[in-house]
């Protein structure tokens, strides 16, 4: 269709710069600004939120030399088509450990006993990174290299029993 207006500007349907006509006028626009995270928090029980989230721990290789840094990737994923909110028992939503020693330390700093939460959008995948130096902190000022052999690196959300709640994963690396 070709139209001409009194101001002399030609408007052509094929013109790539023609203003768009929208056909979504009938759609409820308010739906776009629904507080989806809050709604899902109110409507879905907490165990559904927790069960929806998965945690994966990966290292780039299976074996590392002694004292070689070990990069660790921790992925937290929400496969649901709605946002989820997991309530945690610490202000940091997740922790990691090597052989059961949080932050690869025999003397980890205690976390405050205040609640926190982890909010993941629908289908969101969030990736965190840590590098294990290949050492354990043995006291306030000293580190010692890990023994040769297998070591378990794990990470989980700071909920009551992350393993039972399915928000924990671990992997093993060999120190040569």
């Amino acid at each position: 269709m070709r139209g001409s207006r009194a101001d002399g500007v030609d408007r052509d349907d094929d013109d790539p710069f023609r203003p768009n006509t929208t056909d979504d006028r009938e759609k409820p626009r308010a739906m776009r600004s629904l507080p989806a995270a809050s709604l899902s928090r109110w409507l879905l029980p907490q165990r559904v939120h927790r069960r929806a989230v998965s945690v994966t721990v990966e290292t780039a290789a299976d074996a590392y030399d002694r004292d070689e840094p070990v990069p660790v990737a921790i992925t937290v994923r929400n496969p649901l088509p709605v946002p989820v909110t997991v309530r945690t028992r610490a202000p940091v939503p997740w922790t990691w450990h090597v052989d059961g020693h949080r932050d690869a330390s025999h003397v980890p700093e205690p976390l405050p006993e205040t609640d926190g939460q982890l909010v993941l959008d629908r289908g969101e995948r969030r990736r965190f990174h840590r590098t294990w130096s290949g050492q354990f902190k043995t006291d306030d000022r000293t580190w010692a290299p890990a023994e040769r052999g297998e070591h378990t690196i794990g990470a989980g959300l700071t909920v009551a029993d992350p393993e039972a709640a399915g928000v924990y994963d671990e992997t093993t690396v060999r120190i040569r």
Binding site: P91, V92, P93, E109, P112, F128, S133, Q135, R141, T142
Partner: protein, 361 residues
């Protein structure tokens, strides 16, 4: 008893990515009338320390442990009302970015006289008079006319002066100046520093000056603390820091100062960058960047010790030069074999800041 004593201050930020250890066992003191410099790269924990002093840390920042004693009273145990009485009155802060520090919706004059009315209990007219006097004292021309100007009507230098005027308005005993001249050109910078010096001398006001600029520190400060990754790595009177640095990081900072008449082709820098404070390297935090690092540096975190004796330091009680490096506790096999070259005064580059140069092997 010193005017300000900070003891074992630990500040943490609990974030989704982990725990940010912003300051670790930080201890220092500032005497009345003393000018104390805090230097270090971005992210070393300088600004967090000053915000903690004023209890202005925002969520998710938490002061996890330690004490901040001002005239013997622990600020961390005070009620909110007591702290409000202290802020802007006995302890004042000059913020980094004047444009952000000033409220755009109020006139500059009102922002100064508000503090005066609140803390000194003066009436409208008397507060206005005092505010105009303060504006004059920081070098704002036609202060009475500019009193009703809004911050956007001031230039950058004038805004910074207005922020200084707010800080000075109630005759504080301690001013915390967080990079007060970073956004300014050098001529204005010199004027502002002169002004601060004048105030410090005239009213015996102590100043904690946080800066990147080692030239400013050399010119202005009595004692200096060098911070790295949330730790104090060296603390000493300013002459010792410049002529006899005892920590490789301080040496690195000194040798990276550009100088007029310098024959070097390239400016010497410290390789690498400040570690992520969520995940600091084991042992000495500086070891990945240190040219003198040995295996011991990756295994043992050095304590802050007196460089003369190697004994654990008490920065609150002692004025001695202290540093956190294994070289001073005999745990290093090698030595810190840098040289300090002092240029003749009067020649090119006679700025005291440029007097010290670390020559690396």
């Amino acid at each position: 008893m010193a005017m300000l004593e900070v003891e074992d201050l630990n500040v943490r930020f609990y974030t989704e990515d982990g725990v940010v250890k912003a300051t670790n066992d930080l201890s220092y003191r500032i005497e009345a009338g003393e000018r104390f410099g805090v230097v270090g790269e971005s992210g070393a924990g300088k600004s967090v320390t000053s915000l903690a002093l004023m209890r202005l840390l925002d969520d998710p920042g938490v002061i996890e442990s330690g004490e901040i004693r001002f005239k013997g009273e622990n600020i961390l145990e005070m009620s909110d009302e007591e702290v409000r009485d202290l802020r802007g009155n006995e302890i004042a802060m000059i913020f980094q970015d004047a444009q952000t520090a000033l409220n755009p919706a109020y006139t500059v004059g009102e922002q100064i006289s508000e503090a005066i009315r609140y803390h000194l209990g003066l009436g409208e007219a008397a507060a206005k008079e005092r505010a105009i006097e303060t504006l004059e004292s920081v070098g704002i021309p036609s202060a009475a006319e500019r009193y009703t100007d809004y911050p956007h009507q001031f230039s950058g230098g004038m805004q910074q002066r207005a922020v200084i005027a707010i800080a000075l308005s109630c005759d504080p005993d301690l001013i915390i100046a967080d990079e007060p001249t970073t956004a300014l050109d050098v001529t204005i910078e010199a004027q502002i520093l002169d002004l601060l010096e004048e105030v410090a001398t005239e009213f015996d006001t102590a100043i904690q000056l946080i800066t990147h600029d080692l030239g400013v520190v050399a010119e202005f400060c009595d004692r200096v603390m060098v911070m790295y990754a949330g730790h104090p790595v060296e603390m000493a009177p300013v002459e010792d820091i410049y002529y006899d640095p005892q920590h490789p990081y301080t040496v690195g900072l000194m040798s990276s100062i550009p100088r007029i008449g310098d024959e070097r082709d390239r400016l010497q820098t410290i390789p690498g960058r400040m570690p992520d404070l969520i995940e600091v390297p084991p042992g000495c935090n500086f070891h990945p960047r240190c040219p003198y690092a040995e295996e011991a540096c990756t295994r043992t975190e050095p304590e802050l010790v007196e460089t003369e004796t190697g004994e654990p330091a008490d920065p609150i009680e002692s004025d001695a030069q202290v540093a956190a490096c294994l070289a001073h506790t005999g745990e290093l096999r090698g030595e810190l074999d840098y040289e300090v070259t002092v240029r003749d005064a009067g020649g090119p580059g006679d700025d005291p800041a440029a007097a010290s140069e670390g020559e690396r092997p």
